[in-house]
Subunit: 162 residues, 2 copies
Amino acid sequence: MTAMTPQTRSEPDLSFLLDHTSHVLRTRMAAALAEVGLTARMHCVLVHALEEERTQAQLAEIGDMDKTTMVVTVDALEEAGLAERRPSSADRRARVIAVTEEGARVARRSQEIVDRVHRETLAALPEDEREALLSAMRRLVGGVLAEPVESPRPARRARQSG
Amino acid sequence: MTAMTPQTRSEPDLSFLLDHTSHVLRTRMAAALAEVGLTARMHCVLVHALEEERTQAQLAEIGDMDKTTMVVTVDALEEAGLAERRPSSADRRARVIAVTEEGARVARRSQEIVDRVHRETLAALPEDEREALLSAMRRLVGGVLAEPVESPRPARRARQSG
DNA sequence: TATTGTTATACTCTATAACTATA
DNA sequence: TATAGTTATAGAGTATAACAATA
């Protein structure tokens, strides 16, 4: 979004290009998924819970969410009747996320929506460019842009008692 | 960040690729710019204010920021002695952002940092892929991914008087 | 009446801290 | 002692509302 390079220069503004495209795609995806009442996170949890038996911690890992964010996401899925928390037979601390029949139906539709939005976006590109784009992005994700640099977060006050 | 497509499928997950790369690049850029005491927004305002005489509203437009976000960004630049608010000669409501000498020096360094981070990132790609990536991204920004879809924001309570 | 910049603040998002139950 | 999940809430980020000065 934020243009990092003035228009009078010819350097490619990779930051702007990535920020803008990811932001716009995100809004489009959110709007499309809203049709079936899901957020991107709910979709993510749903499809990965459907694949195999997974606990909240495992799903949080996959979706790169904090465990507290996972709590509210699973709350939303339960409230919508799309998933349920079940005790894990292997570890009594853990909860397995079981997708309901309705949840499975919605997940099928939401995955179609996701694929369609991706397809429509990529369809705007000539095929060779499309392939190169995907290949380049995968190379970045696997290489230089694999891991975020983390900045030291400021300390936090203890919680108010009462 | 959020994987939109389970690993067992072969559809390209454009959302994940864009979200991940833009997020990681953003953290790298933030860390690199912190060396000269700037945020990405401060850099953005600084270089565009340096190009020609511009008001806060114009700079907000360029950086796609809200005008209230611009206020705090300019506050930070003024506090750091890198820019100053000056009354516009054309419109007495408006403030032109004037970059100080120190601001110009810092802007030159921060632009070098931005270019370097972009160059280092793109250097990880074979040249043909690099060119295709940039071309594809520009095509998306100019086409299907030009404008965000906006979702209706929930209304807001009036401000407390007192 | 509309717009620039400002202040105050509501709201969202996310993560930290503290806790319970279990490993 | 460490981990899974939960609750409460701190704090960052951002945008809306209202306002003063000016167009």
